[in-house]
Symmetry: C2
Subunit: 343 residues, 2 copies
DNA sequence: TTGAAAGCGCTAACAG
DNA sequence: CTGTTAGCGCTTTCAA
């Protein structure tokens, strides 16, 4: 027979039990100024004895909720999981609790989720690879401290944490050029929106690819298949590239999942890797590291990005009006078995 | 220059703008009884015009927060992502918002996260594969409507949704026996706790394996390597099994990730799959479906499980005292390229 | 240093 | 059907 829920212990119970005012208890809870050590001790004991836990909902109505909301577009992307690990690691030990909203793909869903987080009085937001317009992001950041991860371009209202995608792409081109490749092609995620063309990582990677090709005197060899950052996009993109009269000797796919699709097309074409053609990905996801795949890929250190984002956010929660900061981290190249000297 | 946040629109603003009482607005918000269509329309219009959004914190203090908390032990497990999809799909269209707490591995972390969700006045909880004691789960469920997913054993306080792991294991044994295998070994996740021995899926799978082996007259061939549900556990388990004087001709790994580890050991031993030995996994994760792997595996239909959990939870939120329900879903076997006739 | 009292934005009894 | 009123549990002035 399930007994019904006992009434929750409130701040009043604690105050009564410790023979002090609720104000005193509140101060102790928040480590606020104006409570003697003796009072602190009394209150702490009462809290422990009664097993009191403050109601975040009630706190939120007046002060903070000690909740940080993280929006991420896709749970299945392991890179995002790394970012999250970095966030929670950085926040471990503080009073902040991280809550995630799942399934935010598309501008509309994203807006819904962000609203939901604001409705719940979250103290701060980490938006990972958001697709919303800058206007929208600024408006959000104006009503709640916000850090945007994985999107270039600075704002006066929110901090940003990004990977240097241009440098990452350059690492790939350099690596392949160093192996003797000249016909290095790229599979990009098609982008038309002018803002995203500057701010989204995929666009930056394509830019970095172009720049670096030019820097290596390979301007004439620039060859891009414009599809999407999906397995299928990689397959179709590679298929297109392999059908060229002058077939590339190496393919730089903008993401690991794209590289996997490309590998499928390569296998279908009867080419070996890396003997017949080299393939390089981006993200260094678990899939890339996975033995049978062993994909050469660019590593972004998601944990580091997450940790930085959390640090900036807590900072900003403490000091709303401080100037915004842009953190840009440097990627590294992890060479595995899908890239080798030009055949 | 970022303007500071404008004051949020409250229910009072709406009431004033619509020339009605706050009660009226509240009723409209909750679709509650006692508001004429005319009033409804007036209020709706005011809400739209002012862009009003109710504060979940304030609502939670008196009534519901329209928030459902989902705890899951591991974001990287794709099966859990499927469950989540099922939950959000089922909840789409309702007023409920799902929030996840990340990083809850271990009993202590799990307790912390559950507390955090209760502190935030969540209306209901979905606990996926929790490791807490039954006592603890019951105590949680007594203070907030709860559904437990992926853990067998019934309770009077919370509903459960599980996959029939015994049946799943039987599917595997049947499949392999049908292919002529007799020496079918199993890699299990070691379990000693008596409660978990009954309630955890891994234990049920091992039981199902034993039962089914007996049912097929293969009691003498029962052979279990007791390690953990990890890649390494699979590798070590398979290594142990392959060192037996009577080497198994098939290995049933308790999870896909375990099967991958086992495949590594098999490759190291110079055996081919499925020619030399068959390997079957459990979960039918994306890894299993992945081309180069193509692992025969048991499919649990996580979406279905999630949808059921959400349905039961919303039900229970509406009617706290209804009797608890146990939903058990039937798994299916997906045959791919790692299982074949005995050599 | 301490506490009394006034809300935060909403919902739920209860009157009209 | 509609509005008035009293809180929910906490934080925050502001006096003492």
């Amino acid at each position: 027979m399930p007994r019904s829920a006992p009434r929750r212990v409130t701040i009043i119970d604690v105050a009564r039990h410790a023979q002090v005012s609720t104000t005193a208890v509140s101060k102790v809870l928040r480590n606020a100024y104006g409570a003697s050590p003796a009072m602190r001790a009394k209150v702490q004991q009462a809290i422990t004895e009664l097993g009191y836990r403050p109601s975040a909902a009630a706190r939120g109505l007046r002060g903070q909720t000690y909740t940080i909301g993280v929006m991420l577009p896709e749970l299945r992307n392991l890179f995002f999981a790394d970012i999250l690990d970095g966030i929670t690691a950085q926040l471990g030990g503080t009073d902040y609790q991280v809550l995630l909203a799942p399934g935010c793909n598309g501008e509309k869903e994203e807006a819904r989720v962000i609203e939901a987080m604001i409705d719940r009085n979250m103290d701060g937001l980490v938006l990972i690879a958001p697709v919303s317009s800058r206007t929208r992001l600024n408006s959000v950041a104006r009503s709640v401290p916000t850090v945007v991860v994985g999107r270039h371009g600075s704002s006066a209202t929110y901090d940003t944490v990004t990977d240097d995608d241009v440098a990452g792409a350059a690492l790939v081109v350099e690596h392949l050029a160093g192996l003797g490749h000249r016909r290095i092609a790229h599979i990009e995620h098609h982008e038309t929106d002018p803002v995203r063309l500057v701010e989204m990582p995929n666009a930056q990677r394509a830019n970095g690819y172009r720049e670096s090709m030019r820097a290596h005197g390979l301007a004439d060899e620039i060859d891009i298949a414009s599809t999407t950052y999906t397995h299928e996009g990689g397959y179709l993109g590679a298929k297109e590239l392999l059908a060229r009269p002058r077939r590339p000797t190496a393919i730089f796919a903008g993401a690991d999942v794209v590289a996997l699709g490309a590998l499928e097309a390569v296998a279908e074409a009867g080419l070996s890797v890396p003997g017949g053609i080299s393939v390089v990905g981006y993200d260094n996801s678990a899939l890339a590291a996975f033995g049978p795949v062993s994909l050469t890929s660019v590593d972004q250190d998601g944990r580091q990005m997450g940790a930085n984002a959390a640090r900036l956010l807590v900072d900003r929660i403490g000091e709303h009006d401080r100037r915004t900061v842009q953190v840009k981290l440097s990627p590294t190249l992890v060479v595995r078995r899908t890239s080798g000297p030009v055949g």
